[in-house]
């Protein structure tokens, strides 16, 4: 390629690159700028004059030194760990069940995926109705535990109004709605596992548990990590259903980070502080994501190494080189 051709190419893609940079960088730069100020929309000043309310790291310090921020972080972590944990266990179990061909498998797969297709706000409304004290959940529990088993009296659990329970009710909705996604990703991974290794293990007499422990889980590791990371990222942003169920209450008992940010932004109208909190969350999530990606890279590396060791010893070219596209092209 000649120099002039390269220049033309650069000229053609530069506007696109600048636009992309603008789209990505501009909001981030504005948020960072505002986060250092006490600017709010009701200050009467436009955002670009936010410097008039310059606070340096005041908002960051207020967030990091105050209990509401950490309480919201803690509640978000609790929801995320519980929701993603259960989604994985249930999703993986369902994927294993539906791995084999049987009559009605397709129909069941579609049924399991249905919750994922429900708009989160609608899911929130459905569970708002279910979780009423005189609603179907308590009625079903009463029927089972009281009417049939005679273990308890009538059940009157305040699923949405008891501050010790409300957060877990919100978690249940997330589990109900997003287990299907986990199921879908894991089922795809399981279907793609190489048959020959599984068949070989079976022929050699490996039990179902041994196949799972020593073959399926190691081979599924990258897929599992990706599924968990995707769901964790999404759960950290949980808002719609939680807002509909409890609005973060009672008090702030179910106020996750998104709800805390929403209240700070649209009720308190403290956009400078909200920007600082958002950036802190972004930093925390980025660190977590980087740490989470490491196992994926390690898992990929392990797979490559396993492939390498599986090659015949008398091969003329080391497997690493064989996998190297450049080496192959040479």
């Amino acid at each position: 390629m000649g120099r002039s051709e390269a220049a033309v190419g650069q000229a053609v893609i530069t506007p696109g690159q600048l636009l992309l940079l603008f789209v990505i960088a501009f909001p981030a730069v504005v948020a960072i700028y505002i986060s250092f100020t006490g600017w709010t929309p009701d200050s009467g000043e436009p955002w670009y004059d936010a410097y008039k309310f310059w606070l340096w790291f005041g908002n960051y310090w207020e967030a990091l030194s105050g209990s509401p921020f950490w309480a919201a972080i803690w509640r978000t972590v609790v929801v995320t760990v519980l929701a993603v944990g259960f989604e994985f266990l249930i999703g993986f179990g369902l994927a294993l069940l539906l791995l084999k061909q049987f009559r009605g498998r397709s129909l069941l797969t579609v049924v399991f995926l249905l919750p994922m297709m429900v708009v989160p706000a609608v899911a929130g409304f459905i569970f708002y109705m279910l979780f009423q004290t005189d609603g179907p959940v308590n009625a079903a529990l009463t029927f089972l535990l009281d009417d049939i088993l005679n273990l308890t009296g009538p059940i009157h659990v305040g699923w949405l109004t008891n501050p010790s329970i409300a957060l877990y009710s919100v978690t249940v909705v997330d589990i109900w709605q997003w287990t299907p996604l986990m199921f879908l990703i894991l089922l795809s991974g399981l279907v793609a596992l190489p048959d020959d290794q599984m068949n070989a293990a079976r022929i050699l007499g490996a039990s179902w548990f041994h196949q799972l422990r020593y073959l399926v889980l190691p081979m599924m590791k990258p897929i599992i990590l990706i599924a968990v990371i995707i769901r964790a990222m999404e759960t950290l942003k949980l808002f719609d259903s939680a807002w509909l169920l409890t609005q973060g209450g009672p008090g702030d008992a179910s106020s996750t980070m998104s709800i805390y940010l929403y209240r700070t932004t649209f009720i308190d109208a403290r956009w400078g502080y909200a920007s600082a909190v958002a950036i802190l969350v972004l930093i925390m999530v980025s660190i977590l994501a980087m740490r989470a990606i490491r196992p994926i890279e390690a898992a990929s590396q392990e797979t490559i190494e396993e492939l390498a060791t599986a090659e015949p010893k008398d091969a003329e070219i080391p497997i690493e080189q064989a996998l190297d596209a450049e080496a192959l092209s040479r």
């Binding site: 009701d42 436009p46 708002y128 305040g158 501050p163 973060g248 209450g249 008090g251 009720i267």
Partner: protein
């Protein structure tokens, strides 16, 4: 006479009272049926729509408007009640608007953002044979009002977006009574003082409660910023049949030693509420809202009635007063009131409350004034008990020998002129609001069941359409309730932030996460932080100016 000429304020002056025309209020009340039939037959809206605008205007000019009237709705019995002369608030507004439309020759488009549950009162014809409010505006001034509906919960979000982006695409924006201060300080709400002086709206003369109501609803720091088109007064509803039942009366007397009646004090309320709380019969004593964003209003009624004439939220130095014994007592009572309400009261809101009241599931509840408009006779809500619903002023306390009873107003459809809209549109936008909020037009539209903009005017409470819609006994009682109404935390910047801090702590107290004392102390500490951040001097000035909006009855 040309239609245009009739709107010239320099033509023959006409008394503002529609009764000066050929169809007076008294005559309407006496013989609406006969006269109405003739008018309906003569001027159905269906017929009107088939005509050309020009022919229809000519028809209206010659036949429909009462003598001396310059404008207003036509086509239904009693329409003259809502017609007006040229030197009236709506007449002046129309005359002002016509200057912007080259005397009606050039159309002017005005965009108005409002709550979705209220648009029907502007866009749906009411009563039978009448035009819609927007049609009359188009006809008289050639101003086309474009309504953009949003959910009430989106009001703040949308307005904050408008502020942040300096968006001037809507000329009129819906607001809420709590937001006057924030929107004024943000530069979103255009100061209306010059327009008010120029066009002289009729708010002071006709608001039930007079200038105090104007101060409370439309003003911030001594200036006009908003135009109220609602009356979200919190009224206490009760089931009359329960209170008049001889068995209940006898049993109550036997248990408490005094006669059963609607309670006038909070202590009395506690007895009555406890007496009627019978969950096994699906009956609850007092189903006041307790959920986030709504429930705090009930605490406020208990709190503000602790002082004579009022217990304020702040002192003159903007120091919070809510952690005083009055605040703690109100919180203790608020927590205790959980015993008399239905399960899940912390998550249920007014739709469930209205439904339960209509189903006869409660003896008392504090509700919006439209409870008697929307429940009785509404098959979705009224399960046979709507006819028993009556309204009262909130209970109160005896302070220094005087019984202080206080309702509060909150939410409330308010409208502001968008300061970011083209400057040339500020005045016409204001004029539309003056016209809509005028006695004649607002009385007419509040009678319309197509929305929840409620009456706030003395005239409306005597108006036949409004009385028919809200029920005469409730309209009469509202005349007493309105002068007893105190503001929520408003007329100051950060009102919502103060309120959220209070609301969150009240919720924690209600669920026993903290004690009433801790709730008030925590709220007071949060309020101090907010005040310091916003600026104490600014808040002190706003508090001082806002004192004029407090009741003295």
């Amino acid at each position: 006479m040309e239609d245009n000429d009739r709107l010239d304020p320099h033509t023959e002056p006409v008394r503002e009272d529609a009764g000066s025309g050929g169809f007076s209020r008294r005559r309407f009340v006496a013989g609406a049926g006969v006269a109405g039939a003739a008018l309906v037959l003569g001027e159905g809206s269906a017929a009107a729509s088939a005509w050309s605008n020009k022919a229809y205007n000519r028809h209206l000019g010659k036949r429909a408007l009462s003598e001396g009237m310059a404008g207003g709705p036509t086509g239904f019995p009693g329409a003259s009640l809502y017609q007006y002369g040229p030197d009236t608030a709506p007449g002046r507004a129309i005359a002002g608007l016509r200057k912007y439309t080259n005397n009606g020759k050039k159309r002017l488009d005005i965009k108005m953002r409002m709550w979705n549950g209220a648009t029907g009162q502007l866009s749906q014809p009411f009563p039978k044979g009448a035009p819609a409010v927007t049609d009359v505006l188009l006809r008289e001034a050639n101003v086309k009002l474009h309504l953009t509906a949003i959910a009430p919960t989106d009001q703040i979000t949308k307005n904050l977006e408008t502020i942040a982006t300096r968006d001037g695409s809507n000329h009129i924006l819906v607001s809420a009574i709590e937001d006057n201060g924030d929107y004024a300080e943000a530069g979103l709400a255009r100061k209306l003082d010059s327009f008010v002086a120029k066009y002289r709206p009729d708010w002071d003369q006709d608001y039930a409660g007079g200038h105090t109501q104007t101060e409370m609803m439309n003003m911030y720091a001594g200036s006009y910023y908003a135009v109220s088109m609602d009356g979200d007064y919190q009224v206490w509803t009760y089931r009359q049949d329960l209170f008049e039942d001889p068995t209940n009366q006898k049993n109550f007397m036997a248990k408490y030693g005094y006669e059963l009646a609607f309670p006038t004090t909070w202590a009395h309320h506690a007895d009555v509420a406890a007496f009627f709380t019978r969950p096994s019969q699906n009956l609850y004593g007092s189903i006041d809202l307790k959920n986030p964003s709504w429930g705090y209003s009930n605490w406020m009624m208990r709190y503000v009635s602790s002082g004579n004439p009022n217990q304020h939220y702040f002192d003159a130095n903007a120091k919070p007063l809510i952690h005083s014994p009055a605040g703690i007592q109100a919180t203790k009572e608020h927590v205790a009131s959980m015993a008399w309400t239905y399960p899940d009261t912390l998550s249920k809101s007014w739709p469930e409350q209205y439904a339960l009241m209509g189903a006869g599931g409660a003896a008392m509840a504090t509700m919006f004034s439209n409870a008697t408009k929307f429940i009785p006779g509404n098959p979705a809500l009224d399960k046979g008990f709507g006819k028993y619903i009556r309204t009262e002023v909130a209970p109160g306390r005896v302070v220094n020998g005087k019984l202080i009873r206080r309702s509060i107003i909150y939410f409330n459809n308010q409208f502001v002129v968008n300061n970011f809209a083209d400057k040339s549109m500020h005045e016409p936008a204001y004029l539309v609001l003056q016209w809509l909020s005028s006695r004649q037009i607002f009385d007419w539209l509040t009678g319309n069941p197509g929305g929840y903009m409620d009456p706030n005017r003395s005239s409306a409470l005597n108006d036949p359409l409004v009385r028919a819609s809200y029920k005469p006994y409730a309209a009469d009682k509202l005349k007493t309730i309105i002068p007893h109404t105190a503001p929520t935390i408003l007329a100051m910047r950060g009102a919502r932030e103060y309120t959220l801090a209070l609301d969150t702590n009240l919720q924690k107290a209600l669920t026993k996460q903290i004690t009433p004392e801790q709730a008030m102390a925590s709220t007071a500490a949060a309020w101090e932080k907010i005040t310091d951040r916003i600026g104490r001097a600014k808040q002190m000035k706003a508090i001082q100016a806002g004192l004029n909006g407090w009741p003295t009855v």
